[in-house]
Amino acid sequence: MIDYLVTVLTEGSIFAIMALGLNIIWGWSGDFDLAFYGYVALGAYMTLALTIGPATPPTTYILGLSLPFPIAVAIAIVSAMLLALIVGAIALRHLRGIYFSIVTLGAVYVLYIFTGQFVPLFNGYNGLSGLFDPMGDFFGLDFSSYSFFYLGLCVVVLIGVLLLVTRLNGSRFGVALRSLREDERAAAAFGRDIYVMKLKAYVLGAGLGGLGGALFAGYLSAFNPSAWSPVETIILYAAILVGGRGSTRGVVLGVAVMVMGLQEATRYLPEIANQPSFAPALRLILTGIILVLFIRFRPQGILPERRLRDQDPAGKGDAAVVETAVTGPTLDTGAA
């Protein structure tokens, strides 16, 4: 039972890091990015290629180094950010709303198929494997205690990400990003360089995606195209929407409900003979139903984004960020 709990929490922490990254892109600056899981995947692949050592035939992949895990993770994050810089620089230049989404979807499928077909890169459809218990030897951990260590690591990283995101959330940078989401022509009219700001948010979000992917690789010890389908992005979107688009607490809660809750709740369903795909299919159906219900009845999510409020009725003293009755953002794809 305790092992099970550790597994669920580790996965939850990793997905929360990814969702917080995507929330910067969609929740803050308002771009419905469908390439996000590509950055997660690149983070995972790079971490593996940098830690598992040289390729032994018949497997082939680039790099093949045996770097310490933290350094590999750092390089993986930078790689994801560089890829996002390229994709974002093209897609964010003139495209908004559904057109931006289509281009990013195209980009991620190009990457997906390229990774699968071009075997010398990351060993094609077989993927990479062999990252066992990163940093376990360094800390002298045995098999039984390792999963606790990795959970602790993921939680610590998640807390770090939360601190970073919370800091940015209330800052001028964070609020100015929201103005792009709300009306970018007005934002430009008031001096904001839309392209550069959106690109910054995009690269930052992708960096968190890469970090999530790197931790995911350490957790799975392997990664291949069957582990990453671009559709996974939709699960992250579902978590953000249900929790509260733009809201940090909301996104963490959304991951708890939609990724951990739903996943685990459907696990205990009785198996139907000859229908092994019943539970996963049901999970997707439930995800869809919940999404529709939330879009219809509570588009701002369970914990809506907080707004800067002037608490003092007389209007004196400092403004503070408090829970608001202000309805959250409406659901759109960021179209101007």
Partner: protein, 262 residues
């Protein structure tokens, strides 16, 4: 009076339509300049060209003596020329207060790294000053009680006022108002007229595009009349009434404004 904005020989076409055709006019510092003309005269396109939202085919736009044609909107805005739009463009999901605070562009504080380290003491003071100013401006425009409201929940008239309040916060050198009276009732119109005059007091010169002629007559010092992409007349509104070209292109039979609704 020195020219704050000088538009020289501006051209812009869309397909076969010459929207702006050799348009030239000036807007003086400390004055309210009206820009009027029939629908399709090229007024909105001219504004888009001046503010950088569209790129002219040819011609020069001088703002404070510097060429700005072809520059991007945010660069022109940072130079001190801010525009509004035909329909109010508030940031609907943000609070009214945030809408005002964000009207002040702060290049340093909005940087990513700066936001990460947190504001310096001087910047915190500046933020508090801004908050005080924002409260005063909201009070002036009668929006104080709504300051924590989601801006998208305001009525059409309140959104117009919010736009004016944002301009007051930003304190640009020149503001171009694109049909600010659209859908505004007479009582609110009065308030907006005094707000426009208030811009001058605050050091912001005004160019205003508007179809509401009594309003133009009341607030403007100088009027530029456009038709078919060109400027056909320039001068104080009173003089233009008698100008046959203006009457022919736009005013038509002069209506009596005595019983006009604004």
């Amino acid at each position: 009076m020195t020219a704050l904005l000088e538009v020289q020989d501006l051209h812009k076409h869309f397909g076969g339509v010459q929207a702006v055709d050799a348009c030239s006019f000036t807007a003086a510092e400390g004055q309210i300049t009206g820009l009027i003309g029939p629908n399709g005269a090229g007024k909105s396109t001219a504004i888009d060209l001046i503010s950088g939202f569209k790129i002219p085919d040819a011609g020069t736009v001088l703002f404070e003596g510097k060429e700005v044609q072809g520059k991007t909107p945010h660069i022109i805005s940072r130079m001190g020329l801010i525009r509004t739009f035909q329909s109010p463009r508030e940031w609907p999901g943000l609070s009214v207060l945030e809408n005002l605070i964000l009207a002040c562009f702060e290049p340093r504080r909005e940087r990513f790294w700066r936001s990460l380290w947190g504001p310096s003491r001087a910047e915190k003071e500046r933020a508090n000053e801004q908050l005080t100013t924002a409260r005063a401006v909201l009070d002036e425009f009668g929006l104080f009680q709504l300051r924590n409201e989601r801006a998208g929940n305001l009525s059409g008239g309140q959104k117009r006022l919010l736009e004016f309040a944002r301009i007051r916060m930003a304190e640009p050198r020149l503001v171009i108002l694109d049909e600010p009276m659209g859908g505004v009732n007479p009582v609110l119109g009065e308030r907006m007229a005094s707000a426009v005059l208030g811009f001058i007091t605050a050091g912001t010169s005004v160019v205003i595009v508007e179809h509401n002629l009594p309003f133009i007559e009341r607030v403007t010092d100088q009027v530029v009349v456009m038709a078919e992409g060109r400027v056909i007349a320039e001068g104080p509104f009173d003089q233009l009434r008698g100008n046959p070209a203006v009457v022919d292109a736009y005013l038509g039979e002069m209506p009596s404004y005595d019983d006009a609704d604004a």
